[in-house]
C-alpha cells in the first residue's frame, strides 16, 4: 500500500533535570493519500510529540528512534535544506494556540504575505484566502492586529495561510482546543472541507472522541506513547477492543446510562521511562493479569483493527508470535 506517512517504532526521549523521560515508546502509524486520521489520546499520551515528529519539529534535546517516512522521504535523515523543502511543500501545521502563532507586531495582511513567501501559495491574494475560510469583509480583517481579533478568527487566518500552500499532509494539533466551544465545530468543518477539496491528508490530534467520530475515516488511539488501537473510526470508537479505548468510550457522558454514575477511569496517565516492561495501561486496566505487567503487548489484528493488548476485549485466536513473546 502506498502511504503518504509511515511512522515505524518511533521513540522520543528527553533528559531533564529530573532524569530521563520517554514521550514516545514505539509508536506506529500510517496515513494514505487523502485519508483523514484522528489521533486520539489524553494529554501526556504522546500525540503532540508524534505530530511534531512528522516535521522533525521537536525541541532541541529530544532523542529520536525509529523511522518516519513522509512522501517516500526519510524524515529523520534529511539534510536541513531538504527538511525545509519538505515542511514547505508537503507538510502543513495548524497549532493549538492560533493567537500565539501570529506576530503581535504585524497586521494580519502583512503577516500572511510574509508567511506565504516562497511557498506554493505565494501568488494567493490574502483577501481571497480569507474568503475561503468564510471570513466576512476580509479587507477589514487584513488591516487588524492579532490582538484585535478573536481566537476563532485567528485560527481561521492560520488555516487559510497553511492551506494556501496546498500541503499534502496537514497535521492539526487540537486546533480547536483554545477556541470557545461554539467555534469548534465550525473550524473543524472548515479544515476538513478545505482538505477534501485539495486532496490533503489530515492527521487530526484530538481528545474529543465525538469530533473524531464525526470527521475522521480512521482512528488511532494513543496511550503511554504508543498507538494501542488503530482501525476504521466506526470499529474503534463504536466497538473498541482495547480495554483503554473501551474505558474511554464508557466514560464519555454521551454513553452514560440515565441514573447511573459515569465510570471514570481511575488513576492518571503513566510517566514513561525507556525500556519499561509490560503494558503502560496495566495499572489502570480492569482486565489486566499478571502477564500484562511484565510483557510488552505486540500488535494483534482483531476484528479488522490493530490492537496492542495481551487480552483484547473480545477473545480471538492469539497469533503465535504473541505466544512466543510471552
Amino acid at each position: 500500500m502506498n502511504h503518504l506517512l509511515r511512522v515505524d517504532g518511533a521513540t522520543v526521549d528527553y533528559t531533564t533535570r529530573h532524569g530521563a523521560t520517554r514521550a514516545l515508546d514505539g509508536a506506529n502509524l500510517t496515513i494514505a493519500p487523502g485519508e483523514r486520521v484522528g489521533l486520539v489520546g489524553e494529554s501526556g499520551s504522546g500525540k503532540s510529540t508524534l505530530g511534531l515528529l512528522v516535521g522533525r519539529l521537536l525541541p532541541a534535546g529530544a532523542r529520536v528512534g525509529g523511522t518516519i517516512t513522509v512522501d517516500g522521504r526519510d524524515v529523520l535523515s534529511l539534510r536541513p535544506g531538504d527538511l525545509r523543502a519538505l515542511r514547505r511543500e508537503v507538510l502543513g501545521f495548524v497549532p493549538q494556540d492560533p493567537v500565539g502563532a501570529l506576530d503581535p507586531t504585524l497586521r494580519v495582511g502583512r503577516q500572511m504575505r510574509l508567511a506565504l513567501r516562497g511557498s506554493a501559495g505565494e501568488d494567493g491574494n490574502p483577501a481571497d484566502l480569507l474568503e475561503r475560510v468564510r471570513i466576512d469583509r476580509p479587507d477589514r480583517v487584513l488591516r487588524l492586529y492579532p490582538h484585535e481579533i478573536s481566537g476563532g478568527m485567528a485560527q481561521r487566518i492560520v488555516i487559510a495561510t497553511v492551506m494556501a500552500a496546498a500541503p499534502r499532509l496537514l497535521v492539526a494539533d487540537e486546533p480547536t482546543a483554545a477556541l470557545d466551544a461554539q467555534s469548534r465545530e465550525e473550524v473543524t468543518g472548515l479544515v476538513m472541507d478545505l482538505a477534501e477539496s485539495e486532496g490533503t491528508s489530515v492527521l487530526w490530534l484530538s481528545h474529543d472522541l465525538r469530533a473524531v467520530g464525526r470527521w475522521c475515516d480512521r482512528t488511532a488511539v494513543m496511550y503511554g506513547g504508543r498507538v494501542v488501537e488503530d482501525g476504521s473510526t466506526r470499529a474503534v470508537l463504536d466497538d473498541p477492543r482495547h480495554p483503554y479505548t473501551r474505558a474511554l468510550s464508557r466514560s464519555d457522558p454521551a454513553h452514560a446510562v440515565p441514573g447511573r454514575r459515569l465510570p471514570a477511569i481511575v488513576g492518571g496517565p503513566p510517566t514513561l521511562v525507556a525500556g519499561a516492561p509490560g503494558c503502560a495501561f496495566a495499572p489502570r486496566c480492569p482486565r489486566a493479569v499478571a502477564d500484562c505487567e511484565g510483557h510488552r503487548p505486540l500488535p494483534l489484528t482483531v476484528d479488522g483493527r490493530t490492537v496492542l493488548c495481551l487480552r483484547p476485549e473480545t477473545e480471538t485466536t492469539v497469533p503465535s508470535d504473541v505466544k512466543a513473546a510471552s
Partner: protein, 253 residues
Amino acid sequence: MSTPENVVELRDVDAVFTSGRGRARRVLRAMRGVDLHVAAGETLGLVGESGSGKSTTGAVALGLRRPTSGTVTFLGEPLRRARRRPGAIQAVLQNPHWSLNPRLRVGATVAEPLAARDGRSPNAHRDAVRRMLEQVGLPPDLDARHPHELSGGQRQRVAIARALITEPRFIVFDEAVSALDVSVQAQILNLIRDLQELHGFGSLFISHDLAAVRYVAHRVAVMLRGEIVETAPTSVFYDVPRHPYSRRLLEAT
C-alpha cells in the same frame, strides 16, 4: 414565579450589544426576554448553538454584564446589591489552561476569593484552602505547586476549589468540562454532582455538550438566537423534546 428557594432569577431580560461606528455599526440582541430561575441544590443546563446567547446569559447571571432591560435577582434581592457580598456567586470557566494564573501558587489562587472578601492576606487562609483541596479530590500539599506542574484535570479541580471556598449559593459552570480529556471529564462531572449534593448550591451549567448536560442537569433550557425556546426537566427533555430546534440539537449529537 418568585419563590424563596430560588437563588437566581432572571425576568424578561434583554441584552443588546452595539459594535462599530457609523456605517459599520451593528446591533446584536444577545438576549431577548429571557426568563429563567435556578433553585438551591438544582442544576439548570443551558444549551444552544454558537451565538445563541448562552454565554451572555451566564455573564448577566454573574453580574459581569448589565442587562439592557429586565431584572436579575439573587436570593430575592437585586443582583447588584448581592455583588457587594463578594464570593456569594462564583464561576468555573472554560479553559483549564487559562483558568489559573501561571504565576501564582495553587494555594494563593484558591485563597484569593476569601482574601478579597475579608481583606486579609491569602496566607491567612491556608487551612481552609487545604481542606477545600481535599474536598475536590486533590492532595492538600498541592497548594505549594504552580499550575504548570498540574494536569488539565487537576487544574479544573483547583478552579472548582477556588469557586467553592466562599461557600457560594450559586455557581455558573461555563463550558467547564469541554476542554478536558474525556476520562477526566467524567471525573469532573462526578465531582460536580457530589459537591452539589454536599453544599446545596444552585448552578447554571452552560454547555454545547448535550451529553454532559444530560448527566448533571436537573432541568434543561434551550436557547436560540437570544431566546429560551424550551425549558423542561432533563428526563422529559431528552425523551420528548417539544421545540423543533431542540429536536434538531438532539439529532445532531
